[in-house]
């Protein structure tokens, strides 16, 4: 019990210090690296909550591939962030108020792991029983993701596909318009 508390306190302290460093930094590459580090600590947090699948996703997607994609996109950004906010008072105030409301609401949440919480009473027991008997797969997360909630995962896959195609279309269009612009110029030069 005490070791769990120590680990959680340690992780929260690291997360908080990364978040403060994120606010302070104005260099884009540090922002990307710090976001990646934040994701990695969040993955450790999920492991302490016994959510191994979520931790795995957070580590591979949040800390891994999104960092690489951010770095690839960063090449087209200015190196330093412009300081455009004139007054820092109103954003800070709204953050404090929103954070206060969220902390206030968190007191109404049931304790973590409490069996009588509504979330554990709805359809979760059916899934836990059915995963063993109907599907025969030890990993309940996979059976919920791919079988019980197969429609949702289908939608997710289509969302990933659509997002990828949209980004490709955006970047591709720029390339072709540039080629179209540059081609007539070359022809003019040749004619001249």
């Amino acid at each position: 019990m005490i070791s769990e508390l120590l680990i959680n306190a340690f992780l929260v302290t690291i997360m908080l210090s990364i978040a403060i460093a994120l606010i302070k930094t104005r260099t884009v590459i540090f922002t990307v690296i710090l976001t990646s580090a934040y994701s990695l600590v969040a993955a450790l947090m999920f492991i302490t909550l016994d959510a191994v699948d979520v931790a795995f996703t957070e580590a591979s997607v949040g800390a891994g591939i999104s960092t690489i994609l951010f770095l690839a996109a960063m090449a087209y950004l200015p190196k330093k962030e412009e300081k455009s906010i004139s007054s820092e008072f109103i954003p800070a105030l709204s953050c404090v108020i929103l954070g206060g409301i969220l902390i206030w609401c968190s007191f109404d949440l049931p304790e973590i792991g409490q069996l009588t919480a509504p979330i554990h009473q709805h359809i979760a027991p059916e899934y836990i029983k059915g995963s063993k008997e109907d599907i025969g797969i030890p990993n309940i997360v996979t059976s919920v993701l791919a079988s019980y909630r197969g429609y949702d995962t289908f939608g997710e896959t289509i969302v990933v596909f659509t997002a990828g195609v949209a980004v490709l279309a955006l970047l591709e269009k720029k390339n072709t318009t540039k080629k179209n612009k540059s081609q007539p110029k070359q022809k003019i030069k040749k004619n001249a």
Partner: protein
Amino acid sequence: MHNNPILRISTKILFAPIILFGLYVQFHGDFGPGGGFQAGVIVASAFILYSLVFGIEAGKKLFPTNVNLILLALGGIVYGGVGIVSMILGDEFLAYNILGSSPQSGQHIGILLVEFGVGLTVSNVMIALFNAFASYDKVKEK
């Protein structure tokens, strides 16, 4: 980065084990943590690592863009196709029980195929995004 021997050799050593780990995560998702989303990202990271170290042109030679785009769409088709097959066999869309001899083996086959579709789409979207950003012309329209 082409001339750095440490990066080149370590990439060559790491490339196959990363893909092997990705396949393990993909097909072991029924029994341990993992599944299509994580496996797709891991497999994509191997190809992105190759492109980062050896250059984007070498990466495109290793994994051609048209194959990438076809596989990107194929993942969704595999997922939807499993649903269509289960409909043709006389059950509901994405009801896997009918795919195998017993309901449990049907569920196994269905989940395996569906996760494979997810992994295919995710990995190819990631590779395509990286390629698009890396080969995007840096000169802006001014």
